[in-house]
């Protein structure tokens, strides 16, 4: 599904990502973990086209997408959510999700139709599965942090991706919200047959749903494998898990 080969990126001489390779198989859930500043978000930005890698290649379903701008990457079936909540704050919840449908289904150049009723069923379907349908008419900027994060997931889903990248989907959430969100993500991935790649700081979350885990440290992969393998890795214990004890 996704194959990343040896991507590198440095900013003004600081090496943020130094040669990271990664494979995500279709239909699996993969996670990237690592301490703060390990390069997780930069890595995401390289994969989604937000940043251009200095070297290396990104392949989506066998197609080279290295250096393509985000709007093209999105059209090829990769959706993403952001660590810092990233929605359209003055639009309603409904309009947020609907906008992604409009764009994805290629209606953006339509200057004539009335926008309100387009993709109503699809939009409401996404909102229903997120439990946001009752709040469809609310201005999204006024929602709670947790609800905004869920809405962001909804926007990503409305681009009908086959691969979904979630950057810290539970950042800033309470323990209950975290558990609910993870259950939600897992269920939606299963229902829609999505391939999922996410970063996370909450270990419990990662080991409960991920099938493959990649551990980043200072811009490099230090371990890769199943949750059990990663948990047993001495290097990982030293740099990361050890830190938290």
């Amino acid at each position: 599904m996704l194959e990343v080969r040896d991507v590198r990126k440095s900013f003004d001489g600081f090496l943020a990502v130094g040669g990271v390779s990664l494979r995500v198989e279709r239909g699996t859930i993969a996670a990237i973990i690592g301490p703060n500043g390990a390069g997780k978000t930069t890595f995401f930005n390289l994969v989604t086209g937000h940043l251009r890698p200095d070297a290396g290649a990104v392949m989506l379903e066998g197609r080279d997408i290295t250096g393509l701008p985000p709007h093209d990457v999105c059209r090829l079936g990769m959706g993403r959510s952001f660590q810092r909540t990233n929605i359209f704050p003055k639009l309603t919840v409904y309009q947020n999700v609907q906008a992604a449908f409009l764009s994805h289904r290629g209606r953006g150049a339509d200057l004539w139709s009335r926008v309100e009723r387009l993709y109503r069923d699809e939009t409401e379907g996404v909102l229903r599965s997120l439990g946001l349908l009752e709040r469809a008419g609310e201005v999204s900027g006024f929602l709670s942090h947790g609800a905004q994060k869920q809405l962001e997931l909804g926007i990503a889903l409305a681009s009908e991706p086959s691969l979904l990248l979630l950057d810290e989907p539970t950042a800033g959430m309470s323990a209950t919200e975290t558990r609910e969100t993870i259950r939600l993500v897992e269920r939606i991935a299963r229902e829609r047959g999505l391939t999922l790649l996410f970063t996370e700081h909450d270990m419990e979350v990662v080991f409960s749903i991920a099938q493959r885990i990649t551990v980043l440290h200072q811009g490099r992969v230090i371990a890769e494998g199943s949750p059990a393998e990663v948990r047993a890795d001495t290097e990982v214990r030293r740099v990361y898990l050890g830190e938290r004890r």
């Binding site: 937000h50 709007h71 200057l111």
Partner: protein, 323 residues
């Protein structure tokens, strides 16, 4: 709120506007004509400022290009208004495409400065190119469209040429506003709103932000050009200051004053600013001072402009009614 929103305000305003020459003097027809043209100009700018979130300091360039296009075609080429008017929109849109191509590559203040720079270039060309534009002296005596056939019709005959032109302006401005309204309410318009709200997120739902910004720039330029085409005839002449930066700031002030958050806000701004200008100038020579004070108060108390303030008041009123 419901009672107030159910009133077909737009239809009422349009009907009232058609009656201005019937009940008012020539002077009021003149004012109403001025307002109608500026309303279109301000609404076209709002497609950029209010809808897409791009602040242009050089929108007068396209107004000026439109005015010169219609003026030159009618006066020097002797073309009919039916051809010279749409040509203003086409040419202004074409220039907007070229200038916009560069402008949308910059963001925020740099975008604004580049729009201003292009507008000043347009102004300088109009000012210096004597053989074509008449240079500093401008181009006086732009002919009116030919209304002979309309005047010969029963029932609507018997008006002065200036009044026929006013009716024509109303029809064309109403048509343009309706088109703009459809555009804002279309899927394309919604995509522009996502660009305004969060360009980064828009990219990640598959919106090619620069291309949409450029499309908005071209459309806004084309409609400004149409307004300019009308204005040259209305003004009985086309002059380089149509494209000068003061015109750009004037139309920006109208947009802010009326409220860029609503579709008809900028048109309301044009109405209020032109009337205030007319009234206050007869009392004091410090009109810019009065305008400045009004703007400061408005921006602090009602950042949504007059239209935003009206909406807030209507909502408050509705709540009182219910209580």
């Amino acid at each position: 709120m419901t009672a107030l929103t159910r009133v077909p305000w737009i239809a009422l305003v349009l009907i009232a506007a058609f009656f201005v020459p019937v009940v008012g003097s020539r002077f009021y027809t003149f004012l109403a004509n001025d307002i109608a043209i500026w309303a279109l100009f301000a609404t076209s700018l709002n497609l950029l400022v209010g809808v897409t979130g791009l602040v242009s300091f050089g929108h007068a360039a396209y107004f000026g290009i439109g005015a010169y296009t219609t003026g030159l075609l009618m006066k020097k080429a002797g073309l009919s208004f039916l051809l010279a008017f749409p040509a203003a929109g086409v040419l202004a849109g074409a220039f907007a495409l070229v200038f916009g191509f560069f402008c949308v590559r910059l963001t925020r203040i740099y975008f604004a400065m580049l729009t201003l720079a292009f507008a000043q270039i347009v102004w300088a060309i109009c000012f210096k190119w004597n053989e074509v534009t008449g240079g500093e002296q401008g181009m006086p005596e732009i002919p009116y469209p030919d209304f002979d056939r309309v005047a010969a019709l029963p029932l609507i005959g018997g008006w002065r040429t200036a009044e026929y032109f006013y009716f024509l302006t109303l029809l064309l401005v109403a048509l343009c506003l309706w088109l703009l309204r459809r555009i804002v309410g279309s899927p394309f318009g919604r995509m522009l709103t996502t660009v305004r709200e969060n360009a980064e997120r828009a990219e990640f739902i598959g919106v090619n932000v620069r291309r949409y910004e450029l499309a908005a720039f071209v459309l806004a330029g084309a409609f400004a050009g149409l307004a300019g085409g009308l204005f040259g005839i209305f003004n009985r002449g086309v002059f380089p200051d149509f494209a000068y930066w003061t015109k750009s700031s004037e139309v920006l002030i109208m947009t802010l004053l009326g409220g860029m958050g609503t579709f008809y806000g900028p048109a309301l701004g044009a109405f209020v600013l032109i009337l205030l200008n007319q009234q206050i100038v007869s009392y004091t020579e410090y009109w810019p001072f009065v305008l400045g004070v009004i703007l400061v108060v408005l921006l602090f108390v009602f950042p949504g402009g007059l239209a935003g303030a009206a909406q807030a008041t209507a909502r408050l009123w509705a709540r009182r009614q219910r209580a």
